[in-house]
């Protein structure tokens, strides 16, 4: 099966004064549809940069990035926005919900940008919220929800477009351990249902939920660990 995501010789170079800083220094990664991958590494290892590039929020300075056959490294801002909308569901550490909107409206948001008709939007947003167990909280605003519930709304928002991958950046970082467990269980369920999940974490036991863990150090892949139980 061809890889869904394919990064070759990806470098991200930042110019700091006269010095070139290699945030990523030649990364080769292939991810197939349906995989459950985690990315680990200490801060400064290039984790976030890799995450941003995979999430099409940023483009590599050098190298190629193909997503489902599309050359992401050649895209402009608006094309990136479009591929993010169609193919990627983000789950952030800080939830990043819009505080003034209800859970339903938050989840509906990506579908607005996907130009989905209103009635279908609301239907799909409701379904997504039910999927994460928040069917009874759809008209609550984020500040009326607990941290775990907020993150579930965020997951619903990521799911609602039926994306090719779900990109979770430290999804349990701001949660107590009980909520964290709950969120990981949802992500594991989503994987079982066939979703491709990429998880970024610095906690080994969170990263261990994945089938395969990529360890980054100084902008390079240090090693890859396959978790036999899950694979």
């Amino acid at each position: 099966m061809p890889a869904l995501i394919s990064l070759r010789e990806v470098k991200k170079i930042y110019q700091v004064g006269a010095e070139a800083v290699y945030a990523l220094n030649g990364i080769d990664v292939e991810i197939r549809a349906g995989e459950y991958i985690s990315v680990m590494g200490p801060s400064g290892s290039g984790k976030s940069t890799l995450m941003n590039i995979i999430g099409c929020l940023d483009t590599p300075t050098e190298g190629t990035y193909e997503f489902g056959g599309e050359a992401v490294h050649e895209m402009d801002d608006n094309q990136l926005a479009s591929i993010r909308n169609r193919k990627i569901g983000f789950v952030f550490q800080t939830f990043n919900l819009l505080p003034k909107l209800t859970a339903l409206r938050n989840v509906e948001l990506p579908l607005i940008y996907a130009n989905v008709p209103r009635s279908e939007r609301l239907e799909r947003a409701r379904t997504a919220l039910e999927q994460v167990g928040l069917g009874d909280r759809i008209s609550h605003k984020p500040n009326e929800l607990s941290g775990g519930q907020r993150q579930r709304v965020a997951i619903a928002r990521a799911l609602v477009t039926h994306p090719s991958i779900i990109l979770a950046d430290e999804p349990t970082g701001n949660l107590d351990s009980k909520s964290g467990v709950e969120i990981m269980r949802i992500l594991d369920d989503l994987h079982r249902q066939g979703n491709t999940i990429i998880l970024v974490s610095h906690e080994a036991d969170i990263a261990a939920h994945a089938q395969r863990t990529i360890h980054l150090l100084d902008g390079k892949i240090e090693r890859e660990v396959v978790h036999p139980v899950r694979a």
């Binding site: 608006n78 926005a81 479009s82 909308n85 990043n96 948001l109 940008y113 130009n115 008709p117 928002r157």
Partner: protein, 404 residues
């Protein structure tokens, strides 16, 4: 695409609702601007209307000859030292010129009038001839004007204005009744229909007209006199001819200056045009000023709003909002604020114009001006929103998401 536009509208509107008081304060400049331009327009429309009505008292084809020019740079004392008009000029003007259709001398003074217990003070008493009917635009509604015979014999008959009739003869028909002008008894032979005020200043209903002969005999042999001349044909040419005749009557040599003035309605019109220009100019100045200040205020607020919502912009971009959509969202928000402000201004102006209509003078708010002001508001919204909106649209999503 339409649904996306509608959603953008909703998002923008939500943005305003979330910051009601701030949006309101921001709107003030625009509100004032719209208010200024529309009220100014209403005022001018009202002035136009009352001016036109006042001008109807004068008549385009009537020349008013006297010592004084109505609007002039000449010193007042210079004109005051000119020789007085004489009643015989009227006959002479008619005799010497074909274009003069009617000519009548008019003398006037302020008097008090009385009947039994009723009195009216500060009445304008005019002494003139029956030809006054042709040079003026009043209508003797009841009774009649005096005749040539009554004029010659100096009869004590009077045609009275509407206010006098009401003041001296409440609840009765004044025709044939006697009253006293400065103690001298006169008989009412006609009443003039209500005319209103001239330029909103002098009441035309507060006058009494008596025969010229009676006026000179009873009140003043000499004094300020005006000669009203109705002319035929082209008014400008007729005016030149009348001027020539007047110079001949006065025996002026070719190089001597005129020692009389020929006034006409036109003088009021040019004077009025400059007043109108001043009012309009002031209105436009206030409008432009407040729109500029309002626009800068809105730009400022929009920059603050973009800064505050950096994170929101990041989230929206991450989940797929393109640059044009973010641009549209903030631009529409600015336009909405301005549009709302424009409509509020328009509403207030409409109320204001109704008040002016009711209490100051009849006027209406010109519709095109209302439309223009709303249009202007939208323009200000776009102009002041464009820079902040571009800032928002160009945000880097990674940095925006990281923004605290």
């Amino acid at each position: 695409m339409l649904s996306l536009l509608w959603e953008t509208v909703r998002i923008a509107f939500q943005g305003i609702l979330d910051n009601k008081s701030r949006a309101f304060l921001t709107m003030l400049g625009i509100v004032i601007g719209v208010l200024a331009v529309t009220l100014m327009g209403t005022l001018i429309s009202g002035l136009d209307r009352s001016f036109e009505r006042s001008m109807a008292f004068l008549g385009k084809d009537v020349l008013f000859i006297s010592k004084y020019e109505w609007f002039s740079d000449r010193d007042w004392w210079e004109m005051a030292n000119r020789p007085e008009m004489r009643a015989e000029y009227a006959e002479q003007l008619k005799a010497y010129s074909d274009v003069v259709v009617a000519a009548t001398p008019i003398m006037s003074r302020g008097v008090d009038v009385k009947r039994n217990d009723n009195s009216v003070l500060g009445v304008r008493l005019r002494g003139t001839t029956p030809e006054y009917l042709q040079t003026s635009f009043m209508n003797v509604g009841h009774g009649r004007f005096f005749t040539e015979g009554e004029n010659h014999s100096g009869s004590r008959v009077a045609v009275i204005g509407h206010d006098i009739a009401e003041g001296l003869f409440p609840n009765e028909n004044p025709l044939g009744k006697k009253f006293r002008i400065e103690g001298i008894p006169f008989r009412v032979i006609g009443t003039i229909d209500k005319q209103g005020k001239f330029l909103g200043l002098f009441s035309m209903d507060n006058q009494i007209i008596i025969p010229f002969g009676s006026f000179t005999r009873l009140f003043a042999r000499r004094g300020f006199m005006e000669i009203d001349v109705k002319v035929a044909g082209n008014v400008a040419e007729a005016r030149d001819e009348v001027r020539g005749v007047m110079r001949r009557i006065r025996g002026l040599r070719p190089l001597e200056e005129d020692n009389f003035a020929i006034n006409q309605q036109e003088a009021f019109e040019s004077q009025y045009r400059s007043i109108k220009l001043a009012i309009g100019g002031t209105g436009v100045f206030i409008t432009v000023l407040s729109l500029v200040v309002g626009g800068i205020g809105i730009m400022n607020i929009m920059f603050v709003s973009v800064k505050e919502r950096t994170r929101e912009i990041g989230v929206r971009k991450a989940i797929g909002a393109t640059q044009p959509l973010i641009l549209g969202q903030f631009l529409l928000e600015a336009v909405f604020i301005c549009l709302l402000a424009g409509l509020i201004g328009l509403g207030l102006a409409y109320g204001g114009s109704r008040l002016i209509d009711k209490f100051v003078f009849p006027s209406t708010m010109p519709l095109w001006l209302g439309a223009l002001s709303v249009f202007l508001s939208v323009g200000v919204g776009i102009l002041s929103g464009i820079a902040p909106s571009f800032t928002a649209a160009r945000q880097n999503p990674i940095e925006a998401l990281r923004y605290e």
